[in-house]
């Protein structure tokens, strides 16, 4: 298991070298989007509208932060459960998105999309939102303000600690439960 420092947006060569279980300290610019924002992004794609951010190389963080206290860019900001975005993720990867950050399992379709489009799924620690927010140095709402916590925010992150859960080679880091399904 290797530890890398990387800067977002990410390139194919960054993603290709990552293996499930690796740790990435991510800096740079990432975008928040969760359920309602994903639906709107895909509606915009259907209507050939210009998206509020560049998908090429983008890292999307599945988070709806709590409001920012005075003097801080953001409130608590840990990951939400990712499977709800599985409907939309393959399409976004096919258009250049390189990574998503969340928690929990992804669908076979998302895992295939990661292999096909050289993408990666990162896990961040769920329920550690206060701690993770310390790595966010800037936050600005860039779209869908009416969605409140679900608005799209452009975040600047500094050494944000991530674990490679699903890599672009078809491997996964989650433990298989000892259970006969």
């Amino acid at each position: 298991m290797a530890t890398y420092t990387m800067t977002a947006p990410l390139k194919d060569e960054d993603v290709a070298k990552l293996r499930a279980g690796d740790v990435v300290k991510l800096s740079g610019i990432i975008y928040t989007a969760r359920d309602a924002a994903h639906k709107r992004l895909c509606d915009m794609l259907d209507n050939n509208e210009e998206l509020p951010f560049e998908l090429q190389g983008a890292v999307i963080y599945y988070v709806g932060p709590s409001p920012a206290p005075e003097g801080r860019p953001i409130g608590s900001a840990g990951p939400t459960t990712s499977y709800r975005m599985d409907t939309y993720a393959p399409r976004l990867h096919s258009l250049g998105v390189k990574a998503s950050v969340g928690k929990g399992k992804r669908s076979p379709e998302v895992r295939k999309a990661l292999q096909k489009h050289t993408g990666v799924y990162f896990g961040a620690t769920g329920g550690a939102g206060a701690l993770l927010s310390q790595c966010i140095t800037g936050a600005e709402v860039i779209a869908f303000d009416d969605l409140g916590p679900e608005a799209i925010r452009k975040l600047t992150v500094d050494n944000f600690p991530l674990l490679v859960v699903n890599d672009s080679h078809g491997e996964e880091q989650y433990a298989k439960p000892n259970f006969e399904f």
């Binding site: 709806g64 608590s76 840990g78 620690t125 769920g126 939102g129 206060a130 433990a175 000892n178 259970f179």
Partner: protein, 278 residues
């Protein structure tokens, strides 16, 4: 008759909301600390360590423990000798709104179909029971969506019994895997009716993690389920380890002779409960 003023209830509820969001209960912290010491897996130790650090930071900074500050759930016990000045549902709902605003807590309530955010976290989800005495007890839970989504209700047959209950619960937790932010606390409602079993399961989660079930048979069943869930090996955040579940809480009620209702209410490690008696 003891009269309780609206203002007293309002202030108490605002306080519950603020404290629940920021302070992880001491027994939960202790359980996480013990689990970290017992774990052999490095990733499990790392995750559990982060959760402890997060709890300390939330306490010091006033940031909520988790950005998902949940829907505001309340279980209210009203004594027969208590007279409340005003409409208690309105008082609690307004106090909850104030607490979420004041504490910079996330507003997570939306229309189920249009998905339009209500922007003030209302309405509060309130369950009432009427009890003897001159006390008013308000129990608050800030319930996150990720763990709530992993919850299930089913109607088993009486023949399936305890073995059927165990099968359903362990299978559910295996399917849920990393999604509900393990290590979890699992609330289980057995009996009642289709609607009552989930209410029992949620109510069971108000029993503090360190408080044993007063019924020794149920306490033994909780331990048995806890051991089976932990044998799944899912571990903290699903990365493997012995700590998949911190505790199982069972609540039961008599049910119809034809039925065996079962509900599982999953709670993440960030068990934000707080209560007050006026």
């Amino acid at each position: 008759m003891k009269v309780i003023k609206a203002e007293q209830i309002h202030d108490a509820v605002v306080d519950l909301v603020l404290k629940a969001a920021r302070y992880l209960p001491e027994d939960v912290k202790t359980a996480i600390r013990v689990a970290r010491n017992n774990e052999t897996s490095e990733s499990a130790k790392e995750v559990l360590g982060q959760l402890l650090e997060n709890a300390d930071l939330a306490k010091e900074s006033g940031l909520p423990l988790c950005q998902d500050t949940g829907l505001g759930v309340f279980y209210v016990e009203i004594g027969s000798d208590v007279q409340i000045e005003g409409n208690i549902t309105e008082i609690i709902n307004n106090a909850m709104i104030e607490g979420y605003d004041k504490g910079l807590l996330r507003k997570s309530s939306c229309h189920p179909l249009t998905r339009k955010n209500t922007m003030d976290n209302s309405p509060a989800v309130i369950h009432y029971s009427h009890v003897a005495g001159d006390k008013l007890t308000i129990k608050h839970m800030a319930k996150g969506g990720g763990s709530e989504n992993m919850s299930r209700c089913t109607m088993l047959t009486p023949a399936q019994g305890w073995e059927g209950i165990k099968e359903f619960v362990v299978r559910r937790m295996a399917e849920a895997g990393p999604n509900p932010c393990p290590p979890t606390i699992v609330g289980i409602g057995i009996g009642g009716t289709f609607d009552l079993a989930p209410a029992l399961a949620k109510e069971a989660l108000f029993r503090p993690l360190s408080a044993e079930n007063p019924d020794p048979e149920l306490a033994a069943m909780e331990q048995e389920l806890l051991d089976e869930i932990n044998q799944l090996g899912i571990g903290p955040m699903g990365l493997g380890g012995q700590t998949t579940c911190l505790g199982v809480k069972i609540a039961i009620q008599p049910c119809h002779i034809a039925s065996l209702p079962l509900a599982i209410n999953v709670q993440c490690h960030s068990s934000r409960i707080k209560e007050v008696t006026l």
